[in-house]
């Protein structure tokens, strides 16, 4: 082998204090979009390690680069510079067919807008990754995945016959059916009401707690983020905060204060902004 002469030391994934290996290890990742002549620096050098079995929320203001980062992590997009090791393998050096296999086997991606195939029953949606992975027992496994997200009775329903929350659960079943090492989700609860959002968090929590699957998702909702173990905050394409959650909430158990209750503490007793007779 010619490369023997200049062989770099083989990559060893970093390990955290409890001995867990990093499934995601990105170093100096930048992403620059070209809009005509204008360069948009969506990511300006992100270093991030996420270890096996972690449950991480990524937060940050709109335009801070959260989706850009998720797409890189999900191997749906390539960074402009920097390196990405996924489960010990350098993703930036992969061929197109290795990338496809990685997306198929190691990653389950959940989109904010569900991205289900039109006019296709739930069961077929969930079978899709198994088909491309050449897996056996597809129908059985797809059924089990749908049952695990509480949709065992909706196998033949088309997307148009499901509520938003149910569609997102089909998408989650599709993401977890190949039993990937990690599930990545870009604002999975962004299009859902709070009850459906809580259902999604319940599923994620149990996948993480019971099956040890690494879950990383983007959210704008602090209440949702409080269900995770770790919150990473981006601003202007950089990580500005990366901290552990002291007391993670348990989805379904910790009742979210109603909107009226939340508002109660900030609203004054009565309206004083106009002329009183307008309200009588």
């Amino acid at each position: 082998m010619v490369s023997l002469f200049k062989k770099k030391p083989a990559y060893q994934p970093p390990v955290d204090e409890t001995g867990r290996k990093a499934v995601i290890d990105i170093r100096g990742v930048t992403k620059t979009y070209l809009m005509g002549d204008i360069e948009v620096n969506a990511l300006r050098g992100v270093d991030l390690q996420i270890y096996q079995g972690e449950f991480v929320a990524i937060m940050g203001p709109s335009g801070s680069g959260k989706s850009t980062l998720m797409n890189v992590l999900g191997a749906l997009d390539q960074p402009t510079t920097g390196e990405y090791f996924l489960d010990g393998v350098n993703v930036s050096k992969m061929t197109e067919s290795d990338l496809a296999r990685t997306r198929n086997q190691k990653i389950g991606f959940v989109f904010q807008s569900f991205n289900l195939l039109k006019r296709t029953p739930a069961l077929r949606q969930v079978e899709l990754p198994l088909i491309y992975g050449g897996a056996a027992n597809r129908t059985k496994r797809a059924k089990a995945a749908l049952e695990s997200v509480g949709l065992g009775s909706r196998l033949d329903h088309l997307p148009s016959e499901l509520s938003g929350g149910q569609q997102q659960r089909v998408a989650i079943a599709r993401a977890l059916v190949t039993e990937p090492a990690m599930i990545l989700a870009d604002e999975p609860t962004g299009n859902l009401d709070s009850r459906s959002g809580t259902e999604v968090m319940q599923i994620f929590q149990s996948l993480n707690r019971d099956k040890g699957i690494t879950v990383v998702f983007v959210t704008h909702d602090p209440w949702i983020a409080r269900h995770t173990n770790r919150v990473v905050i981006l601003r202007d394409g950089r990580v500005v905060s990366d901290r552990m959650v002291s007391q993670p909430l348990i989805a379904g158990k910790d009742e979210r204060p109603s909107e009226a209750d939340e508002m109660e503490s900030v609203l004054k007793d009565a309206y004083y902004g106009g002329k009183e007779e307008e309200y009588n």
């Binding site: 999900g74 749906l76 997009d77 197109e96 067919s97 496809a100 997306r103 991606f109 991205n115 491309y132």
Partner: protein, 413 residues
């Protein structure tokens, strides 16, 4: 992914988008069906017309009076019986075997309550021989009938049908009134194929002895003391004598009619070959015209296919993005789309061939005399072109989408 797996994905894709699949197929069906149906019709008409003229016989010349094409001459001297007889003389025209003469007069044939208005052909007895057209029942005229200007008549089958109500009826021996005189039917001409074609219904005819037409039904004397003849049916000694015979007729008649300059001839000589040649130009135009229509149909069908394929690009680009996001390779996508468009094109092509066949069948049923046949080159051309269009426009957007990064395909609008 295995090929059977690709097939299953592609077929599922087609079934979930039935409307798009049906519309695409429809474009192909119309294109292919039109090309096959029209080209078969075109060829059928062409060979039908050709065969009709072939029935005129390859060694027969037709001579009839016509206006001169140039010069100062304005009068037409009719062809006379004396000239016809002279041309039958081997010393005058050695390449002519025999001459049959025909004088036509308007006529009305009546049988009881039924009647038919018809062009009566007064012919010499050798007409049936020269035109190779025998009677199917009864007899044709004899020389005695000619000499006596006998009141006898031979009918075509359509005329029999019109006068007696049934084409198969044998009227031999029965009386009919011809221009208010009583004639006896002595025979029926064999039915001619061709039906209603370029030459009219060749079975709607009635023949009487030439002398009967000239003396009893008309008075058609000519200056030279003969009678007017409308058509000379000249049988030459063989196909190879046609040109020589034509020259002999031309020089004799030119002398007799005082024609000195080319273009002053007051008669026309034609033969089957000339007719076929000039007809070739007409049917050639017909074929070009039909091919044009067929080509336009194919184009319209092709544009239909293209439109549907391109219109669904946005939707399908997102679908491709999603498929890639869950692990499809570019080659999986291409295989799926290739199979999809091949299936559409081939199913559409097959149904299009069936449609073309149906057009041919219907055409054949409407006009039984057309010998319609689907040709393999029409099938090959039509299915080839539509398959190419279907596959190209099915595959081109797909291959573009398959090369995109999944996230770009997912966000495509």
């Amino acid at each position: 992914m295995s090929l059977t797996e690709s097939f299953r994905v592609a077929l599922t894709g087609l079934l979930t988008n039935r409307l798009r699949a049906i519309l695409t197929t429809l474009g192909i069906i119309i294109g292919v069906g039109a090309v096959i149906g029209l080209s078969s019709l075109g060829r059928g008409v062409e060979s039908f017309i050709a065969s009709e003229f072939q029935a005129l016989g390859s060694n027969v010349l037709f001579v009839f009076s016509s206006a001169p094409t140039s010069g100062t001459r304005t009068t037409i001297q009719p062809i006379s019986t004396l000239e016809g007889e002279a041309l039958g003389d081997p010393t005058v025209a050695p390449d002519i075997a025999q001459v049959a003469m025909e004088t036509v007069v308007p006529g009305r044939v009546v049988n009881g309550g039924r009647s038919v208005t018809i062009v009566l052909s007064g012919v010499t007895p050798n007409f049936a021989v020269v035109r190779d057209w025998p009677v199917q029942t009864g007899v044709f005229f004899s020389d005695e009938d000619l000499d006596a200007a006998a009141r006898v008549i031979v009918l075509g089958t359509t005329t029999v049908e019109k006068l007696f109500g049934d084409k198969a009826f044998d009227p031999t021996g029965l009386p009919v009134r011809v221009n208010d005189r009583v004639f006896t039917v002595i025979g029926v001409m064999q039915e001619q194929g061709g039906g209603i074609g370029a030459l009219g219904d060749q079975n709607e005819v009635a023949f009487v002895p030439m002398t009967t037409a000239q003396t009893r039904l008309d008075n058609a004397r000519t200056r030279d003391g003969g009678y007017r003849v409308d058509v000379l049916h000249i049988q030459t000694r063989g196909e190879e004598s046609m040109d020589a015979a034509t020259l002999q007729v031309e020089s004799y008649l030119s002398d007799a009619h005082g024609v000195t300059f080319q273009g002053e001839q007051d008669f026309t000589i034609i033969n089957q070959r000339d007719l076929l040649n000039s007809l070739g130009a007409v049917t050639g135009i017909l074929t070009v015209f039909l091919s044009l229509i067929a080509g336009i149909s194919l184009l319209v069908g092709g544009i239909g296919i293209m439109n549907i394929m391109l219109v669904s690009v946005t939707e399908r680009t997102r679908e491709i993005g999603l498929r890639k996001a869950v692990g499809a390779r570019g080659s999986d996508i291409l295989t799926q789309f290739l199979i999809e468009s091949l299936v559409l094109s081939l199913v559409g092509g097959a149904l299009g061939v069936a449609l073309g066949w149906l057009i041919t069948l219907i055409g054949g049923a409407l006009v039984p005399d057309l010998d319609l046949a689907i040709t393999t080159d029409a099938i090959a051309l039509a299915t080839g072109v539509s398959t190419f269009i279907g596959v190209f426009f099915g595959l081109y957007p797909a291959s573009r989408a398959a090369r995109m990064k999944p996230i770009d395909a997912l966000r495509f609008e």
